[in-house]
């Protein structure tokens, strides 16, 4: 795995997802939708027009019974740092209206809903299909408006949205720390909804630059890999798997390549 360069003074929030632990239960997806006011429709069977900031894929090794193996792979936005960690993410660099931004203090790729005018160039640029377009205005079942989170704005028709690493939680944790006279926040003070909801403890979230955070060591595991590393998108989601075919499924290889 290529070593990425980084500014050690800045935070670089990321995730390590242990695929050996993931059962594919979908709790992370549900938690994400509830936390971030992600809209849904009556019929959610058409996955290409439904919004799932966190989406669990089902992978198989392609072999027939009894050698069939299954793996569930949760895929949020990869919060790519781009070549050299300059924030030259595939999406950030192309947005014509600066509606998506790379935060150099946190490494989080944000989406400014009120500035997005829906050209969808970022979606065309993202190889992970981590960006979703609001093809409809959100309609909540009667009474459900009461359950919406006041910390996350609801998006209107015609704009793009995606996983924010629950950035509002980071802001709340920062506010609390400031109020208590602290300059920094602890590892457990800022956790994403999906990481907290995973019953198998497959998702670990933290600062990839901070040696005190669990992800710092986990990402160095020999079984760690990232999706499509060869494209030099430099994602911040690491996956762990003890199975070779899964690690190989993370990237593309030429036919004669080992």
């Amino acid at each position: 795995m290529k070593e990425e360069k980084s500014d050690k003074s800045a935070k670089k929030f990321g995730m390590v997802i242990d695929l050996d632990k993931c059962t594919g239960c979908g709790s992370c997806m549900v938690a994400c939708m509830a936390e971030n006011n992600v809209p849904f429709k009556e019929d959610e069977s058409k996955k290409l027009v439904s919004i799932t900031w966190m989406r669990v894929y089902r992978l198989t090794n392609g072999k027939s019974f009894p050698d069939t193996e299954i793996c569930y792979l949760p895929k949020p936005c990869q919060h790519c740092g781009g070549k050299g960690e300059h924030g030259h993410s595939p999406c950030v660099s192309v947005c014509p209206a600066t509606a998506t931004d790379y935060n150099k203090e946190t490494g989080i790729v944000s989406q400014i809903y009120t500035r997005c005018f829906g050209c969808r160039y970022c979606m065309a640029a993202c190889p992970y299909h981590a960006r979703y377009f609001n093809w409809w205005d959100p309609v909540w079942p009667k009474g459900m408006e009461e359950y919406l989170s006041p910390n996350v704005s609801v998006r209107m028709r015609g704009v793009v949205e995606k996983c924010s690493f629950c950035f509002h939680r980071y802001q709340l944790a920062k506010d609390k720390a400031y109020y208590e006279g602290r300059s920094d926040i602890g590892e457990n003070e800022y956790q994403t909804a999906c990481a907290q909801a995973c019953p198998a403890g497959a998702i670990t979230f933290g600062d990839l630059n901070d040696s005190g955070h669990a992800v710092y060591e986990l990402k160095k595991n020999k079984n760690a890999f990232r999706l499509l590393e060869r494209l030099q998108t430099n994602p911040k989601i690491y996956y762990l798997s003890s199975r070779q075919w899964i690690r190989r499924a993370g990237d593309n290889y030429l036919k004669n390549e080992k």
Binding site: T98, H129, W135
Partner: protein, 417 residues
């Protein structure tokens, strides 16, 4: 009824015939406008686009019609900057076609964005690193240049020209047209190029991504080149269609042949550059990302290697050879076939660099996605065609678009179509 405003002594069809013709085009236009309003008021759920196809038919149409409208800047460049004087007989029409193409592209872009009312954000919150920003600025500026180039043609209308102010204005604008032509060439170089850059910079999409010089991927230069090469073929094609419909010869053969010859050499050199680019992409760029050529041309119901052969050989090398050869371009059918192939070739190039990019999977556990546009997308894409027919019809009827028309059709004065 409108004979007093029809230019010069040239006779045009009767008013009722003209009204019928415009009504037919108008009906198609209204169908497109209805679809456009549906998209604006109900949203882009009226389309068959989805999260895999963020870019689809409309973006292809934009890229294609801007490439085809490239005949305006390149003919202007040849006429005013290089000094090919014969082309004054077709430059008016090239400008009108260019104006139609560029204004249509802006209309389609206005429908294509999810929040059209926020369209101005592209200028206000401009991200200078985005190719689309460059496209928006240059495209808008160039449309103004085309309007400025169109105005003197309008001022030549018989009735308007009788007013001394407009007569002098038109005359003075003609005398400084080289400045606008040069401006148009400069702007076109950048927006045609940046449209190529739109796909070329997508380093997350190996099918589209190209290396290049400084911030510009090779597609930047290839798009400008191909627009300059194939745009004139579109101008020739539309001129020939206009001649067929009106039943008159409007431009002398030597003018068409000169433009065809230059276009042939441009297509020839472009296609050599395109082949070099493709070979480098296959041998160097693609393998570095773990992909092989056939990963993008197999395991799907539509995109086979045939599309690459069609674009480069049938619609690239073949029209170049026909137009470069004197015999080929002087042959009536040879000229038309070559022009059609060149136009088709540039449209296929834009298609694959938009639609095939979206269709091909990058993650190993995703599959090819196919797409067919909704009727609303088709109607709004046909809209510019109807709009173009109307603009051309009015221009042909009321403006002296073709300086050689009178000389070529002396028998139709006071009695023709």
């Amino acid at each position: 009824m409108d004979s007093k405003i029809i230019s010069g002594e040239l006779k045009r069809c009767s008013t009722w015939q003209f009204a019928l013709w415009i009504s037919a085009a108008g009906a198609v236009l209204l169908w497109g406008v209805y679809a456009m309003l549906l998209c604006w008021f109900k949203g882009l759920n009226q389309t068959n686009m989805n999260d895999s196809y963020g870019f689809a038919l409309w973006i292809w149409a934009d890229l294609a019609i801007i490439a085809l409208g490239g005949g305006a800047f390149f003919t202007g460049f040849l006429r005013y900057i290089i000094g090919k004087d014969e082309l004054k007989n077709i430059v008016n029409y090239a400008v009108i076609i260019g104006f139609i193409c560029y204004s249509s592209a802006l209309i389609i872009l206005g429908i294509d964005v999810g929040q059209p009312i926020r369209g101005w954000f592209i200028f206000w919150h401009a991200n200078v690193h985005s190719m689309l920003t460059e496209v928006a600025f240059c495209l808008t500026c160039y449309l103004f240049v085309l309007i400025i180039e169109y105005i003197p043609i309008i001022l030549e209308n018989r009735r308007i020209d009788n007013i001394p102010f407009f007569h002098n204005l038109g005359h003075n604008m003609h005398s400084i047209m080289a400045v606008f032509a040069a401006t148009g060439v400069f702007l076109s170089f950048f927006h045609q190029g940046s449209l190529g850059g739109v796909s070329g910079v997508l380093f997350g999409r190996p099918f589209a991504y190209r290396e290049g010089v400084l911030i510009w991927p090779w597609t930047f230069f290839l798009f400008t080149w191909s627009a300059a090469a194939c745009g004139p073929c579109f101008t020739i094609l539309i001129t020939k269609i206009t001649e067929k419909i009106t039943g008159k010869r409007l431009v002398k053969d030597n003018v068409i042949e000169l433009l065809a010859k230059i276009s042939g050499w441009m297509i020839g050199t472009y296609i050599i550059a395109k082949i070099i680019d493709t070979v480098y992409w296959i041998k160097v760029t693609l393998p570095a990302t773990g992909f092989g050529l056939m990963d993008f041309y197999s395991n799907n119901p539509f995109y086979g290697i045939w599309i690459l052969v069609l674009e480069i050989v049938i619609c690239g090398i073949l029209p170049a050879l026909i137009l470069i050869s004197e015999k080929g371009r002087k042959n009536r059918y040879g000229l038309i076939i070559a022009a059609i192939l060149a136009v088709l070739g540039v449209c296929i190039n834009r298609w694959v660099l938009v639609l095939q990019v979206m269709a091909a999977p990058v993650l190993t556990f995703e599959t090819w996605q196919m797409y067919f546009p909704s009727w609303q997308e088709i109607a709004t894409t046909i809209l510019p065609l109807a709009y173009g027919i109307i603009i051309i019809s009015f221009s042909y009827r009321y403006l002296p678009v073709f300086p050689q028309e009178k000389e070529l059709n002396p028998w139709t004065i006071n009695g023709g179509k």
